[in-house]
Symmetry: C2
Subunit: 104 residues, 2 copies
DNA sequence: ACACTATTTGGCGATTTGACCAAATAGGCA
DNA sequence: TGCCTATTTGGTCAAATCGCCAAATAGTGT
C-alpha cells in the first residue's frame, strides 16, 4: 500500500469509523426526520447526556452533522444527506447475507 | 430507542464496524479488481500475515467477502458488490466536507 | 512419514473506544 | 448578580480493537 493509498484509505476509514456505532447510526436516522437538540436526542437514545454529546461531537467532526445554537439549546441536523445512502448500502449487505443464507 | 430499533441499529453497526478500518477498506478495493489469496493480500497491504488473515475473517463474518480454498491457497473475493457503493457514499461525505470548507 | 508452504488461532501488550459521573462552561432570565 | 437549564469536558474504568509473535492446522508433493 503506497503512502498515498494509505492516506486515502485512512481518510475513508475516518468517516467510516464515525458511522460504526449503533447509537450514532440511530442518531443519523432521527436527524434525517427532523433536527433535534442534545436533550431531545438524549431522551430518544436513552443514555447519559454526556455520552450522547460525545457521539454528536464525533459525527460533527466527521462532517456528517452540523450544530447550530439557538437560544438555550444546540440543535443538530444532517450536514449532507448523502450519508443516508449508507443505510441503503448497509441494508443491502444485510439483505444479501440473508438471501445467501436462505439459498443454502 | 425501542428494543426493536436497538437490534436493527446494532445489526447495521455490525456491518459498519467491519468496514471501519483503512486496511479492510483497502482489501475490499483490491478484491473489487480481482480475487487474491491471503499471501498476495499480505504483500499488497504490507503487514503481518496473521494480521491480514484476521482482517479477512472480520470481513467474511460480516458477509462482505467470501473465501474459497483452491490447492494450497485460500482465495478471497467480494461476496456482494453492493459494498462498493459504500466507497461512493464515504467519498461523497469527504467531498461534501471539502466543498463546505472551500465555501467558507 | 517428512518437509514445505499457506493460513489460522491463541496470546500478549499497547492503544482506542465507550459509558458514566462530576465538574466546568454558556446563555437566558428573574 | 444569581439561578436555572443545556451542553461540553475531564477523569476513570471496563471492554474492544489492533498488531505482532509463536504455535497449531491443513494441504501438497517427495
Amino acid at each position: 500500500m503506497t503512502n498515498l493509498d494509505k492516506r486515502k484509505y485512512e481518510e475513508l476509514a475516518r468517516i467510516s469509523k464515525a458511522l460504526a456505532h449503533a447509537t450514532r447510526l440511530y442518531i443519523i436516522h432521527k436527524l434525517d426526520e427532523q433536527e433535534y437538540c442534545v436533550k431531545e436526542l438524549t431522551e430518544l437514545v436513552g443514555a447519559d447526556i454526556s455520552t450522547v454529546s460525545k457521539h454528536l461531537t464525533i459525527l460533527k467532526n466527521a462532517g456528517i452533522i452540523l450544530d447550530e445554537k439557538r437560544g438555550n439549546c444546540v440543535y443538530y441536523k444532517l450536514q449532507c444527506r448523502c450519508v443516508l445512502a449508507m443505510f441503503g448500502c448497509l441494508t443491502n449487505v444485510i439483505d444479501s447475507n440473508k438471501n445467501k443464507m436462505n439459498a443454502m
